[in-house]
């Protein structure tokens, strides 16, 4: 079962890994930060070793986004960001795991202070005929 893990964050300045630029993360005691970083490395290498990681990408600063909206029958381009929300889509990971429970376990381990991790199932092209 394939899932996408979306990282919504607002690093200041924009940068990756986002936790390095999120104040709430920086304010944590050094030992806690180190532990969180190590846990993240741990889950990433676990996903790789298991063959559960399909891929992932870090996204550029939303200020650099170009937006295309339909107006008067044609696309109208403008500069980003897409929304004025506090958090932006900062990156994503694609995973292929055995169960929803495993996907939830993995997604929970991607979370950190002042960031929102969103787990969404990916649609697949097959289906049952009964």
């Amino acid at each position: 079962m394939k899932y996408v893990i979306l990282i919504h964050s607002n690093p200041q300045p924009w940068g990756h890994p986002t936790s390095d630029y999120v104040a709430a993360h920086q304010e944590l005691p050094a030992a806690v930060r180190q532990r969180l970083d190590a846990e993240f490395e741990q889950v990433m290498s676990e996903l790789r070793a298991n063959g559960e990681l399909i891929g992932g990408e870090a996204l550029g600063d939303p200020a650099n986004a170009r937006l295309y909206r339909w107006q008067d029958g044609a696309p109208l381009a403008s500069d980003g960001p897409y929304s004025e929300a506090k958090e932006h889509l900062a990156g994503f990971f694609l995973i292929d795991v055995d169960s929803q429970a495993r996907a939830e376990e993995v997604a929970a381990r991607f979370s950190g202070p002042a960031e929102t991790v969103e787990l969404r199932p990916m649609m697949w092209p097959g289906g049952n005929d009964q």
């Binding site: 070793a49 298991n50 063959g51 092209p125 097959g126 049952n128 005929d129």
Partner: protein
């Protein structure tokens, strides 16, 4: 021309060649690499020099030499035992042994790949690689993941085998039933993955459903008296018979009820039914035989309206005792609703509705929607079609459920 002959020879011989090497040298990963090298050499040489008289012996000889060369070159991973054994043999005894009837090689290889130390997805990946002889890229494409991800899965599986001390031998009599069951499940999983696919197939040069049938045929040839192996082969044949009718010209999924039955493969139905007729009277009736029997009842109805739902509901009753599962209850409820009345089927779903694990399962809502619609409860049906469409991760099923929702009066 030579290319397709080569492909045929390769698919027929891959598991025997690997088996012959494994009997001698042991390590699965090393042997697979060597066999892969031999295949590459065949691609280079056969089109020029022609296909050898005994392709299996040729492949084994070349693979054995490559194994020695690799072990020599790879001083960091120097494996004294492998080299010594290889020097002594130089591929010759291996070839002699392999030329003896080695029917069990494929089976032993399959048992190794379905070792209990491996997760189900690892067993599937390794079986397709080692037993079916598929390339990593082919398996990755079939499962819609990058080759890198599939490589990792395979490496992990081989490492787990090494760690568990798994060997290329027949399992003990105590282990055998569980191992056969795992092999059958792996074949069925591969089949389902391929059969349920409606698009993306053109990107893939391997038809997983056919590959699964080929694999279970090999297991059946090695274990002709095993009832569940025969049952699983019958189930796959009877289900695969519907393939030409399950997708329409625009690529949309066509449900069983609406399929053009004149397009069903009669040859596969006849073969599946004949297998069942041989197997069922023998006594022990397991879940694959029961599922195959259900598929046979569907196959024998000339229209959906002619379906013998009473017989199907009785078979599901037996199946729910032999192998109880929520999916079985769902299908049982449909059969009871069709054989008797929708309310009777709906009542069977109540227990599932109370199960937290099922509350996110789209099929529970899809079946309930269908039965509510049959019962004349349009509002309830709409609500359940909506919920089912929300929960499914299948694109064609989602389109189908949305269509049913739109068609409600």
């Amino acid at each position: 021309m030579v290319r397709s002959i080569l492909e045929d020879v390769w698919r027929r011989e891959a598991s025997h060649v690997l088996g012959a090497l494994l009997r001698r040298y042991g390590d699965l990963g090393d042997c697979e690499d060597a066999v892969q090298d031999a295949a590459a050499a065949a691609v280079d040489q056969w089109p020029i020099r022609g296909v050898p008289d005994d392709p299996r012996a040729w492949l084994i000889r070349v693979a054995s030499r490559r194994l020695i060369d690799r072990a020599r070159a790879d001083s960091a991973r120097l494996r004294r035992e492998t080299i010594d054994a290889a020097r002594r043999q130089d591929g010759r005894d291996v070839v002699d042994e392999a030329s003896q009837p080695a029917v069990d090689d494929t089976l032993r290889l399959f048992f190794l790949c379905c070792h209990p130390a491996l997760s189900r997805p690892s067993q599937v990946a390794l079986s397709l690689r080692a037993v079916a002889g598929l390339g990593v890229e082919q398996i990755a494409a079939a499962y819609l993941v990058p080759a890198r991800t599939m490589t990792q899965r395979l490496s992990r599986a081989r490492a787990a085998l090494r760690l568990a001390g798994a060997r290329f031998v027949m399992p003990s009599e105590q282990e055998l039933p569980a191992r056969v069951a795992a092999v059958v499940d792996v074949c069925h999983l591969v089949f389902t993955e391929g059969y349920t696919r409606t698009s993306g197939e053109s990107l893939v040069d391997i038809q997983l459903a056919e590959e699964a049938i080929r694999l279970i045929r090999q297991v059946h040839a090695a274990l002709p008296d095993h009832d569940e192996v025969a049952g699983a082969l019958a189930l796959m044949l009877l289900t695969h018979a519907r393939s030409p009718a399950r997708v329409d010209a625009s690529g949309e999924l066509v449900p069983l009820a609406e399929q053009d039955r004149s397009r069903w493969r009669r040859d596969l139905i006849a073969e599946g039914v004949a297998l069942l007729e041989q197997t069922l009277p023998r006594g022990h009736v397991g879940r694959y035989q029961l599922q195959a029997a259900i598929a046979a009842v569907h196959a024998e109805a000339s229209t959906y309206g002619d379906t013998d739902w009473l017989q199907i509901s009785m078979l599901y009753d037996m199946l729910s005792r032999a192998a109880p599962a929520p999916a079985v209850t769902l299908n049982h409820a449909v059969a009871v609703a069709m054989a008797h009345e929708p309310a009777a089927g709906l009542a069977m779903l109540d227990a599932l509705l109370a199960d937290p694990a099922m509350q996110r399962h789209h099929r529970l809502y899809a079946v309930r929607a269908h039965l509510l619609e049959l019962n004349g409860d349009t509002e309830g049906a709409a609500e359940h079609y909506r919920r089912a469409a929300q929960l499914t991760a299948s694109l064609p099923e989602q389109r189908y459920l949305n269509r049913r929702l739109a068609q409600l009066p």
